[in-house]
């Protein structure tokens, strides 16, 4: 059994699937990370992803132009992020609950629009693969790592970028401060709301790209509840990664690869019931959390707490 799983084809397959599955998680989680680091739990990602996924799908289906599609998805996501910010920052609503509201709203709306504007699932031509000259010809790893579509590369590029923004820019400094000690930031004249509006809107926009990456780059289709819980896992991955981009990436890859692995286990006919195999990613995540939780030093202590200046 183990030999079967250690075959090169399986390892490469797991890697390839892992990288692809990780793509939507990365966009959504990195965006969510900014939101959470600034102190706002944005639980409605799933709903945002769905609406944006539909928007991207629809534009691609009607115009064939996926740059437009991507732009619109980002915009739609950003607008929903703005709405989230208004609800959680300005109206100081309970963030978990408003997130569930946004999710239900997005789930219903995307389905409704799909029904009215498209009808039944229709395949589209999605974002094409972009071979990286030279590298994509590498044996074994070339096709896995350097022959993906643009959105996959983009997702992985987000990780160092996010790290840079968070750690090397004044905005990043403000975001972290606002999430840890909003009173301190406030006393230095930083607008806590403004920073949170920026991050929450950004999280929405990134969730929009995540949705688009599903509907026009990975699946090239739209279907009711296309994301099927992915947005919630993305939120969980942010905790998992301890609010640090590279750890989040590791988590996304781990989760996706274990998911891919369980598919391989079944496909190879190893006698593990599918339901038991299906538990693997979740069990493993918990196990990983047991180890990860101890190492978390800096966390956004103000997470989920609306800021009020004591007045």
């Amino acid at each position: 059994m183990l030999e079967q799983l250690l075959a090169p084809a399986v390892i490469i397959g797991v890697l390839a699937s892992g990288i692809q599955l990780a793509t939507p998680y990365l966009y959504a989680s990195i965006g969510e990370m900014f939101s959470q680091v600034s102190g706002v739990l944005n639980l409605g990602l799933e709903g945002v992803m769905l609406v944006a996924a539909f928007a991207a799908y629809y534009i691609t289906w009607t115009t064939g132009n996926y740059y437009y599609a991507l732009a619109i998805a980002t915009l739609v996501g950003g607008l929903m992020g703005l709405l989230t910010a208004f609800i959680s920052v300005t109206l100081k609503a309970e963030q978990g609950i408003s997130g569930i509201g946004i999710y239900l709203f997005g789930l219903g709306l995307s389905d409704l629009l799909f029904l009215v504007m498209v009808g039944t699932p229709k395949a589209i031509d999605g974002v094409p693969r972009l071979e990286i000259p030279g590298l994509s010809d590498l044996p074994v790893l070339g096709p896995v790592l350097f022959s993906q579509n643009l959105l996959v590369y983009g997702a992985f590029a987000c990780v160092p970028l996010a790290w840079f923004i968070l750690n090397k820019t004044t905005l990043g400094l403000k975001i972290r401060a606002v999430g840890q000690t909003p009173e301190a930031a406030d006393s230095l004249g930083i607008s806590v709301s403004q920073v949170r509006y920026i991050t929450v809107t950004l999280a929405g926009a990134m969730a929009g790209i995540a949705g688009a990456s599903l509907s026009i780059a990975l699946l090239n289709i739209f279907q009711q509840n296309l994301t099927s819980g992915l947005g919630f896992i993305a939120v969980a991955l942010v905790y998992f990664g301890g609010w640090r981009p590279f750890r989040i990436m590791a988590g996304a890859l781990l989760f996706s690869m274990v998911n891919a692995l369980q598919l391989w286990i079944q496909t190879l006919g190893i006698g593990l019931p599918s339901d038991i195999a299906g538990m693997l990613p979740y069990v493993l995540t918990i196990v990983a959390l047991i180890f990860a939780a101890r190492q978390i030093v800096t966390q956004p202590t103000a997470l989920t707490k609306p800021f009020e200046r004591g007045e």
Binding site: T169, G172, K174, Q180, T181, S187, I190
Partner: protein, 510 residues
């Protein structure tokens, strides 16, 4: 433009149900230190938060250099040269010193941070005003005194020429206070204006040029420091004379209640903070532990209370071994604990006065029968506590967070002392508490002594330790440097607190 004068005219601030400031006039000039005095809840912080634009006044105006100023937010205040150092520091604990200073500043590199530039300027300021601090240290790792320096550097970095200092000394040790006052004088002499809030009258006398006294939100007096004395100030604040010196009857010492043998314990960072510590406290005596903060006092108290693991040694209470027992077991052995930070350790802020009064006794008869509350009993019990201990509260149902610090401390004392403990651990019992309440708390501690309780008093306020203790143990780096009489000279105590052995310093040992 540097600040020459700042004036508050007819400022009022109304909170729901409270008129915190009532037609207050106040002014401060460049080159002076203006002290603001008043009991807990008199409205000092509120007034200062208005000046720093954290609150909008209900009515009244602010004039800066004679011109009406429209301050909408702390950013405006900062831009006008007003800086504020809060009692609860406004620092990001997970940031380095430099990051804290750079936060919210314009960077010379546009969107990118310029921490190296900031570091340099921080070092310059540090040398200029004697504010030595390690720029790259994480703030949560710094001692309070150092954190406070960071706050001052933050304000200076932003060219604040008016510094508001809200109870800056409450958390400092005498040594730190001394250094701090040097810094304040330097700042004043450099032409800055300073507002200084403190509950300690001798500090106000030592550092300020003028004093304004608030009571119930109104100004009740303004004097030149040179023209007044502590007694007069106290009378202005409280409306009567206040006792600061106690004549205790001689100690009626009983048997040893607390016996600590070779105790060691580590701090939160895992470093040994109490090492090979031995001590005895007898019934009917107050043993004061003096020392610069961070020398293991906190860990010692927590180890006794069962809140922290002892890595070695034994703790006996009434000949009962309580080493590494749970807080509940320790408490059951007759130990009462007034912890250092009342808001986080002593009370549940959101709970009512009544709920907090039964924090330890709620599970037992007569307050509860088989785990079910008897509200009649609870009500009677709490009413009695509140009366006996003079806790000023609108009702038993008032959330504790809206009581003043002094009243919260009285409530904690009521709760702890009512259990007639064998041993009372009191850590910083009067920190941030106004003089009226301080007097009351002191009275209660002495009363316990008379009742035959063993009292272990841990305080960084040397005046307090000397006023109350029968013996003073000076703690340095987790160990006792020496045990001396309360009549020892201040300077000698100071030397011992710096780690110089009792014998060398030659105070009267006991």
């Amino acid at each position: 433009m540097p600040i020459e004068t700042v004036e508050l005219r007819n400022v009022s601030k109304r909170f729901p149900g409270v008129l915190a400031n009532d037609q207050v006039n106040f002014d401060v000039h460049a080159g002076e230190i203006h002290a603001l005095l008043g009991e807990n809840g008199a409205g000092k912080s509120t007034l200062m938060k208005i000046l720093y634009a954290m609150y909008r006044p209900t009515e009244g105006e602010i004039f800066i250099n004679g011109k009406l100023a429209e301050l909408r937010s702390p950013a405006d205040a900062l831009a006008n040269g007003i800086g504020m150092i809060h009692q609860h520091f406004q620092l990001v604990p997970g940031f380095t010193v430099v990051e804290n200073v750079a936060l919210g500043l314009k960077s010379s590199r546009g969107p990118l941070t310029d921490l190296d530039v900031v570091t340099k300027r921080v070092q310059e300021l540090a040398t200029q005003y004697g504010l030595s601090v390690e720029p790259n240290a994480l703030v949560w790792q710094l001692a309070v005194g150092q954190q406070q320096r960071v706050e001052i550097i933050k304000a200076l970095y932003r060219d604040a020429s008016l510094l508001i200092l809200d109870e800056p000394t409450a958390v400092l040790t005498p040594q730190e206070v001394k250094e701090f006052f040097d810094i304040l004088r330097r700042l004043r002499d450099a032409g800055n204006a300073l507002i200084f809030i403190s509950h300690k009258l001798y500090e106000v006398m030592a550092i300020s040029d003028r004093v304004t006294v608030l009571r119930d939100g109104r100004v009740v007096g303004r004097v030149k420091t040179a023209d007044t004395n502590q007694k007069e100030l106290a009378r202005m604040m409280v409306g009567r004379d206040v006792i600061t010196r106690w004549d205790k009857p001689p100690a009626q010492q009983g048997p040893v209640v607390l016996k600590i043998e070779h105790l060691s314990a580590a701090n939160d960072k895992g470093i040994t903070a109490v090492r090979d510590f031995s001590l005895e406290v007898r019934a009917g005596e107050i043993l004061g532990i003096a020392g610069v903060s961070g020398n293991g006092q906190r860990e010692l108290a927590e180890a006794i209370a069962g809140m922290r693991r002892a890595t070695a040694g034994t703790i006996w209470v009434d000949n009962q071994n309580v080493t590494n027992q749970s807080p509940a077991q320790v408490s059951a052995s007759g130990v009462a604990f007034v912890p250092e930070e009342r808001m986080t350790m002593g009370v549940v802020r959101e709970f009512t006065v009544a709920e907090n009064a039964i924090l330890e006794t709620h599970a037992y008869p007569p307050l509860a029968n088989r785990g079910v509350f008897d509200f009649g009993q609870i009500n009677d019990h709490c009413t009695r506590l509140v009366r006996e201990y003079d806790v000023k509260t609108p009702s038993l149902d008032t959330p504790v967070k809206s009581l003043s610090g002094g009243n919260i401390q009285k409530l904690i004392l009521a709760r702890e002392l009512d259990r007639a403990p064998r041993l009372l651990l009191a850590a910083q019992p009067t920190r941030g508490v106004d003089i009226g309440a301080t007097e009351y708390i002191h009275k209660r501690l002495i009363e316990q002594r008379a009742n035959g309780t063993a009292v272990l008093l841990i305080s960084e306020d040397l005046e307090e330790v000397r006023a109350l203790s029968d013996r003073i143990a000076v703690m340095y780096e987790g160990q006792i440097v020496g045990i001396v009489s309360p009549d020892s000279k201040m300077e000698d105590l100071g030397l011992m607190m710096a780690g110089i052995k009792g014998n060398d310093a030659n105070p009267s040992t006991c």
